[in-house]
């Protein structure tokens, strides 16, 4: 079994105090993970504020390593009502060679989805496996599955 733990960061990095990851500096990413972020606009019109954050935090239920905190936010500062998305992604830094692997298991907690009070939002958590053997497009070349979707809670 390969465990892709979020390892303790190198000495050159500033460690986040125990239990206070919320106050950590943005950009403190453990060395075996990288952050990928992009913004999506269906119409290409509008200039809202996009926020992408990825921080390290202490593990709550597993000893000896760190966890990742991910955050995405869109603020409609222009009020143009366009369909837009803020995508923040944690991705393993190196390619993994595990031909024997049949399953992947993800431990996720503390999912919070704050949003506007009206309809028109869908926040999602995706698990993806990037496959280098297939041409990579926006959706292609990647096996993915949805872990969590916020709609249905109070969309209408």
């Amino acid at each position: 079994m390969i465990i892709l733990n979020v390892q303790y960061v190198s000495a050159a990095w500033v460690l986040v105090p125990n239990g206070s990851f919320e106050s950590g500096t943005v950009g403190l990413i453990p060395e075996n993970w990288i952050m990928v972020a992009w913004n999506y606009s269906e119409t290409g019109v509008g200039n809202p504020t996009y926020i992408h954050e990825m921080k390290q935090t202490d593990q709550k239920y597993f000893d000896g390593s760190r966890s990742l905190w991910l955050h995405s936010r869109i603020v409609d500062t222009d009020g143009l009502r366009n369909s837009r998305g803020s995508h923040t992604q944690a991705e393993t830094k190196d390619w993994i060679n595990a031909p024997w692997a049949t399953h992947v298991r993800v431990y996720i907690r503390d999912i919070k989805s704050t949003h506007s009070i009206y309809w028109g939002w869908t926040n999602s958590v995706y698990l993806r496996i990037n496959n280098v053997g297939v041409a990579k497009t926006y959706y292609g070349g990647v096996w993915w599955d949805m872990i969590f979707r916020s709609w249905g809670d109070s969309q209408f």
């Binding site: 079994m1 390969i2 465990i3 892709l4 979020v6 809202p48 954050e53 709550k60 597993f62 390593s65 966890s67 991910l70 995405s72 936010r73 869109i74 409609d76 009020g79 009502r81 369909s83 837009r84 803020s86 923040t88 992604q89 944690a90 991705e91 393993t92 993994i96 060679n97 595990a98 024997w100 692997a101 049949t102 399953h103 992947v104 298991r105 993800v106 431990y107 996720i108 999912i111 989805s113 704050t114 949003h115 506007s116 009206y118 028109g120 939002w121 926040n123 958590v125 995706y126 698990l127 993806r128 496996i129 990037n130 496959n131 280098v132 096996w143 993915w144 599955d145 872990i147 916020s150």
Partner: protein, 99 residues
Amino acid sequence: MYEYSIPESVDKAHMKIQIACYASDWTFYDPSYFSDLEFVVDKVELFSAPPPPPPPVGGYSVPIKGYLAEKPLTPYLASITILIIGLTTIRRKATRKTE
């Protein structure tokens, strides 16, 4: 904890695990509105699960082992036989003495 099987189409010799946090809005109604999502990833594991047992192919099922009674009669029959023989012998001896 969420667990998924990896499809055969995935090239398992060249993989990158990705956890995506995607906040989206189809329509805003006010400049002050926002869409916001956050969560914590504790651990990601790759593992090899044992293959499931082969499904049954149908047809009749015949047990390999023979029928085994929970309370076999042989010991009881043997005990009764020995008891009858003993009683018969004793009765014969008693009959001879009286003659």
